[in-house]
Symmetry: C2
Subunit: 407 residues, 2 copies
């Protein structure tokens, strides 16, 4: 019998306790022994729930229990999660987490601590909820030179963008609805400003390219400025606007970006709707692969955490290695990246052509007769930005997928 | 330095040698040491190629080489692959294979041999080419009670069906074209009769449900009877015809089937075109997940084999466990499964309604004025078949996705 503890009994933590209970038979069959949640740490009380019987308010009860070999950290945030995790690893316990802030901020240090103490620090649930993308990068695509990771990594913003497109709502209304449905938090900045997706692409890129990409270095733009008109133009261009988190090898360097982009049928991510997430990984041998599933939610995320716990138990004290080294990845400037840009314009076609060259997909919407939309030719972002900054006819612009995906 | 050998230098085997060469840097970084292909076994000669220098015609050169710890089996077929694999495992060497015939036929025995000798028998490349679906079932979705595995697992048939739909070709023409493009073999029976997909769903189901599903027990129907008219009807119903390989938990039992089915937008597999493969896995905690990539081809399949080799090397003699037990899975009869059926009919609507009840999606194609198509209500397959067998107005029928996916 393997004994584990759960720290933080919120949405994901409570889900972990539930999954170990409801799937105990299947788990015991796969592990070869029963896995029991012996302790749960939380400041709150949980009267009348299964948590009550195993609850403690004292971290020491977990740290000092020699029977507990694996600890789940689903507290979120940096404090006290970082300190707790570090102490547990130093005490020779494996830690499995869904805490992307902590992994993005201190992952390198915690992985080193784990290595030094012969234990594992696993974080499958930190990216893509129930999608097994971390293990895929870490243990499956190991023969690849990975050239790109692009994902829809935030369910809240994808739900908002899907609702805007399907029901013609504006951003504020869609956000309010998402909050009422429980898909967006009361303070939604981390989601709608792209910070959450930014941390996740930093983690995935670190694994994909074998170094440490700091999330602070990733150019990040949220979806708060996307309005109903943008969505209508996208539809007219047979596109969808999606918050993409992407990183890509270009020559000897890597660039990374989180931003709303217009993508079309050529991109399999276009069909990912609502709170679902998906990650596309390209390698030089395997080509394009994609992984799709629930990006959030109690049980899907808990399933990923439990999978990590099971790996620790099956490995029986032998650490799981990770291609996440401390060597920093320095990014190429996104300004050099070439792609077409979608522009909403209040000038004339002639002016637009004079400034941007061979524009295409010229679109006039009945609802907005005083402007039109178009796609620029493929050009470097800095070139485009330099022209657009001086052009007072530009109402707004949005990046159009990637160079080779453009028509 | 880890030393490996490759047995069988055809499309996949040669790809394995190439991937270890072209991605040696990334692989060494992830493994912590260089991985070298020391020996290649084949009956043929390979003058002027990289294989020439490491070639042997004698299996004993691999079996008796104490330096070689992992052997790739990409020979295909049962003889002599089975005997060679067994001897290698007994000699304490890990074996990694793309040979689905061998895994489906003797997987249980070979896994037991591997266990008994403390080594691994891995077969990521046997299903879905470069898609890391085996490891996902084996190591990621381990906290799940899996309820369904459904895939497009054969690239040849998917290419043929896609070509028929996109270019209005009939089966024979599309097959011939696929043969000319190298996507179909000269003797295409294993693909077009569904046998290849059948072996793959048997392997995936065995891992998903934790027993041994014999491929011989899976009802299997190929695509040879699909004609241009069927494809036109599917399009009129906003559907695609896909060769689905599926297995599903129903109550305490499991049923499995390989057959062409009509699926619509509600099913993410609808968008999988050409030679691409995809597998959908549903679990009671994670919900629906999907995995997409190249289902065949030299480098994608080789990438999966190399990933297995790397796992063996990283595990350094410690066997990788697999939830593929010898306990047989006995299947429920597919006849009990309920779904709608698409029927091409040369009778009247009144007759059809009298026999099948509330039919829907009644469709008349200009090109085939003497018949019409419709969907039956949801009914058990045996009920439908009993009526259809006595009904000489039925030209043909095709299964329509699954019960809960129907409108």
């Amino acid at each position: 019998m393997a004994k584990v503890a759960v720290m933080g009994c919120g949405t994901v933590g409570a889900g972990v306790i539930r999954v170990f209970d409801m799937n105990s038979g299947a788990i015991a069959r796969r592990v070869g022994e029963k896995v029991e949640v012996k302790r749960a740490l939380d400041l709150r009380e949980f009267p009348g729930t299964p948590i009550e019987k195993i609850l403690t308010h004292d971290f020491q009860d977990i740290l000092n229990d020699p029977e507990i070999s694996v600890v789940v950290e689903t507290m979120g945030g940096l404090k006290p999660a970082f300190q707790f995790t570090k102490q547990l690893l130093e005490a020779g316990k494996c830690v499995c987490t869904s805490n992307k802030e902590l992994v993005a901020e201190h992952g390198v240090e915690l992985l080193e601590t784990a290595r030094a103490h012969g234990v594992s620090y696993l974080f499958e649930a930190s990216c893509g909820g129930g999608i097994p993308i971390i293990r895929t990068l870490n243990e499956s695509l190991t023969a690849e030179e990975i050239s790109e990771v692009t994902g829809i990594l935030n369910g809240t913003t994808n739900y908002i963008l899907t609702t805007m497109a399907d029901e013609g709502k504006d951003f504020e209304t869609a956000l309010k609805e998402a909050q009422e449905m429980g898909y967006a938090e009361l303070h939604p900045e981390a989601d709608v400003e792209g910070w959450d997706a930014c941390r996740k692409i930093a983690i995935l890129s670190s694994l994909a390219y074998g170094g440490h990409l700091s999330y602070k270095d990733v150019d990040t733009e949220g979806i708060t400025k996307i309005d109903a008109a943008d969505i209508l133009y996208a539809a007219a261009l047979e596109c969808r606007i999606r918050l993409l988190a992407t990183s890509r090898r270009e020559g000897n360097g890597i660039w990374a970006l989180v931003a709303p982009m217009m993508i079309g049928h050529e991109n399999p991510l276009t069909t990912v709707d609502g709170v679902m997430n998906a990650v596309m990984v390209k390698g030089n041998a395997v080509g394009t692969t994609m992984y799709y599933g629930s990006g959030a939610g109690s049980l899907p995320t808990a399933s990923a955490v439990c999978g990590d716990v099971i790996e620790c138990v099956k490995n029986n004290g032998r650490p799981v290695s990770s291609d996440y080294s401390s060597g920093p990845i320095s990014l190429l400037p996104v300004d050099e990246v070439e792609r077409p840009f979608f522009v909403r314009y209040r000038g004339t076609e002639t002016e637009a052509i004079r400034k941007y060259g061979e524009i295409s997909h010229i679109t006039v919407l009945k609802k907005y007769p005083e402007e039109f939309g178009f796609l620029t030719p493929v050009m470097a972002e800095k070139t485009f930005k330099a022209i657009a900054a001086e052009d007072d006819k530009v109402i707004k612009w949005i990046r159009r997928g990637k160079k080779e995906e453009a028509e």
